[in-house]
Amino acid sequence: MHQFVLSIAFGLVTASVLAIASVGLSLQFGITNYVNFAYGDFMALGAFFSYDLNNLYLHLNIWVALVFGSLLMGILAVGINRALLSPFARKFDKPFYVLIVTFGLSLVILNVIYSFWGANIRSYRTPVQYVKHVGPFLLTINQMIVMAIAVVLMLLVHVLLKTTRLGKSMRAMSDNASLAMTSGIDTQRITTITWFLSGTMAGLAGTVLGISEGNLTPASGELFLFVIFAAVIVGGVGSIYGAMAGALIIGLATEVSASFINASYKLDVAFAILILTLLFKPSGVFARSGKA
């Protein structure tokens, strides 16, 4: 029983990381209508930017490094979209090309990371962690900060989408891009902003993943990508709130199951839930018409 309660706390931490990552992926998917298979490598690259700011240059505090590393990744994501993905999406208006290109991009970024940072396992420089009792849970300060970041970020995304003009434009574009364009929305500007948000959230997610797991490797983002896919599909592709719900479901399920079965099968639990969703509710929990 005690183990079970503890695993719920871990589940919430994983769900927090997953929620940041899934919302970032979903935002971009909703606007551009294709999946970014390089998203896991965006995460890893952002994590390594933070790592360098934290350990190498400047020696920033990890949370400051997190902000700047993520923003750097956001800017890079805009550049990648401008230089590569958006031309492909325009030239061949079929999603198939861009899928292959993002798949290729993932290979390129992964190997860029390997060439610059090597294959070693690294970890961030953080203050010594003490475990604290929070209600029935045992958490470190870092884990609590990660959860707080996720909650604040989800609220910000909610406010952005529901109350601001930019959010309204994004939702309009996600529903029907050409209609949004004819209504006078600057779709190119929205796309750029979305890529910036998506890249920044990828960087955030990659870094907090490294913080909460205690280590980072170039391939860690790519392995995590599949858990993001599970969360996004379970929640309903293209739905931001679905992504949040999916992250909670998958995060809790993977960690809670780890207290019953061998922890190395966490990924397989996520996949089993993914398969069950596909069999019984293929459009996901929060289905959106036209996106599934």
Partner: protein, 357 residues
Amino acid sequence: MSFYVYTLFFFFFVYFILAMGLNIQFGETGILNFAYIGFVAIGSYVTGATSLPKANTGIAAGQHFILGLNLPFPFNLLAGGIVSSLLAVIVAFIALRRLRTDYLAMVLISLSLVLYDVCNNFVPLFNGPDGLYNIPEPMSGVFHLDSNQFVGFFAAVTGIIALIMYLFMNRIMSSPLGRTFRAIRDDPGVASTLGKNIFKYQITSMVIGAFFAGIGGGLIIQFGGSFNPSAWLPGETFVVFAVIIVGGVGNNVGLLVGALLVETLLIHLPAFLPDIPGRPGLIEYFSAMVIGIVLMAMLWFRPQGMLPERVRKFPAPAGELLNRDGHSVVAPTPVEAVATTNSAAQVADAHEGNDAW
């Protein structure tokens, strides 16, 4: 030196086989199978496990795995191909139902990672992270070959198998079955109004492709004598895609060119270069990057590949009589002509139409 040359030839033939398998799924039927390398791996493991004796006995001492049938050469390879096909049936039944292309790709790439994860963690299945090793060299006992001669001999065997599989694939592609595959790729809606059961044909295509993947994987483990999870991370699937797209989607001879350019020139030739001192693995990273960049450049500048698909056209004969409905009164004689090039754009059309899934 000759050892290297034979190795190059071997991987060239194997990637030709692998590319044919993915081509029938992706190039002919329009299924974006991002889990392809998983099928290769299963073929490899099953071939290895069936050619070894019982686990933890004899040459398999210290290894844990299932099967252990001690099968002689061509049968273990066939076992690999068949098990890989069976896996394809299961996967197709779950994943091909009602899924849009990009969902399907997401599910399949996840599947690839999960297969990897299971094989890596569940030691009793295929020996976990160590993988299978000490696989007996096929037929070297019969011909009394030492390990150097074996490399050349097995490269030749692989060449013959590749030729047989090429002829087999050509038969499929020019048969009514192949035409149906292409019809589904080009427009699933039209194909289904013609009474074709799309789901059934997609499963058939997955099964054929997976068989090729399994055979290719089996050849890899027979050649090297070992196989472990690090050999089949999802990025490897991308290499096979690169072979197809560089060579020419839907063109088997093009795949030969693609296998030569991508697999031989970009992957295995650089692998023989000496390592840069102090930076282990840098060459490998660079060649992977180059493959990614080459593929993007290819898609941008020549999406139909080096050798484009040859499209048969059946034009109505000039001056023929038409009835009131505009149909020919005289049955038109098919004229086979190499006419237009079918770019990958048409493959993309098939994907667009997949919304019906």
